[in-house]
Amino acid sequence: MNKEKLSPCLSGRGVTKIFGSSKIKTVAVDHIDFDFYKGEVISIVGESGSGKTTLAQMLLGLISVTEGEIGFEGARRNISSRKNKKEYWRGIQAVFQDPFASFNMFYKVDSVLLDCVNMRDGKHLAKEKKIELITEACKFVNLKFAELTNKYPFELSGGQMQRLMIARIFLLKPKILIADEPTSMVDACSRATILDMLLKLRDENNMTIIFITHDIGLAYYVSDNVYIMEHGKFVEHGSADEVICDPKEDYTKRLIGDVPKIYEKWDLTTVG
């Protein structure tokens, strides 16, 4: 895999998030370090309460960082002003878990895609050109825009809406994509489609994809590198083969051991 090892596109040193005031503090993310490189597919695996969603929100710039630094494209990330934030969001985007919750149910789905075209400096384009771009994006995800236009979110299925989210990413072409459990609410048979589309985006644009998931099987299937997260800390990380086939930490071993197996025998004697 040809990665630009020169500088990571997203990195963190001592990144911490603490919720609450002096008396009742919750440390959601506890001084973690990471380096993500261009074109990598990374999975951050953790159970609920591990802090992975909080980390995703910090990476996206949706919540503030209590301590530590996040670096973006080699330099220290600056999202202090609104202008800087908007600039940052040209480089990093997200796909969320619940397709129904990702859309504003009072507006037609066109508006979401139109926003993306405008975001990519397309405001001045003619209407036909905008529709052309949107149609192309929908084609990428096997949807016909002509059939979707003027529809409200509740008129579409979950799979269609999740694919629209991916069409959005196709239009925006960010450098980094954070995918928060993108397939957990999708039918098993459509999962492969979603994963395929995301990987295709990576291949065509050298986009870094960071999967946030609790499904270690999915992490193993799709990623180059895996980070295991527990109680706000990265307990283990490495290439997917290293972490899954030869785990070093007890937590990782337990996590893998607690998932039902098919090809190997699932050992039920060890629990917890």
Binding site: C189, Y220, A240
Partner: protein, 335 residues
Amino acid sequence: MGKIMLEVNNLNTKYITRSREGIFAVNDVSLKVEEGKSLGIAGESGCGKSTLALSMMGYYLSPLHYISGDIIIDGKNISGMKPEDIRKNILGNEISYIPQAAMNALNPTQKIISLIEDVIHAHNPKAAIKDIHDLARERFELLGLPPEVLKKHAVELSGGMKQRTVIAISTILSPKVLIADEPSSALDVTSQKMVIKMLRSLMEKGLIKSMVFITHELPLLYNVTDDIMVMYAGQIVEKGTAKEMVFDSMHPYSKGLMGSIIVPEAGIRNKKLSVIPGTPPNLKHPPDGCRFAERCKYVKPECTLTNVATKVFGNDRMYRCIYSIEQLKEVYADE
């Protein structure tokens, strides 16, 4: 062939909406579960497996309505019984049901032991409190649950502990059939494993005579149940032993389902996951002929003309497709 604990013959049930429309949720379902065995029902959301679970209990709450078919528990046909009779005599001691997210059903104002007292008194009003406490303690120890839990309230327990407690309470009367609907879906993997262990323990120790396990996660079924049945759009499309179904299924849908399983085991990275485009049909107006036809790769014109009946082959295996076994094997070999 052991004694049959649960037998369902040609069961049909439907939902009736406020605007008086009918949704045919369960269509022509037949199954058998022997003593000492467990059956897994797999399918995606909306296929009707939870509805089937409710229907099998014989206790129909509007908007679910029974249309036709038999449900026989250990020789007793409960399909014609009145709801009051079913509640008194069948639920809890013959057949027990654990719904999805059952752990939220624990009454937060009562101690666990008093919930158990309620359950036992509902069936045996004269049972002595001391006997109930002894039974509860004994059962909890047998199932690996700490007896201190009995004196606690539901809010003091973790999610996994709550779910296991619910399972213990549901089986306290040693029912002949236990129907568990997604008993571990809302839990973390470790608690999930404990729940699975407990269910297997219940079977092994004979505390329940048979089990029906409903879930959309196939690796679980492979490790828990003896047989697996796949449902699609309210019908059974295939049934066989767990091993046969996961590694050698025949129906195009089950094959697709099994082909989309992801496990953290070596070799999975090279697996090509199956894709089935489209969405399940609307059960308000189910299509004529095969319900899977519109999404099937191997569809022929005949598929949409007539309703496809189930066919039996091999060792009590069943599938629903217009193709014969040999034809299917040929088609798959070509790929």
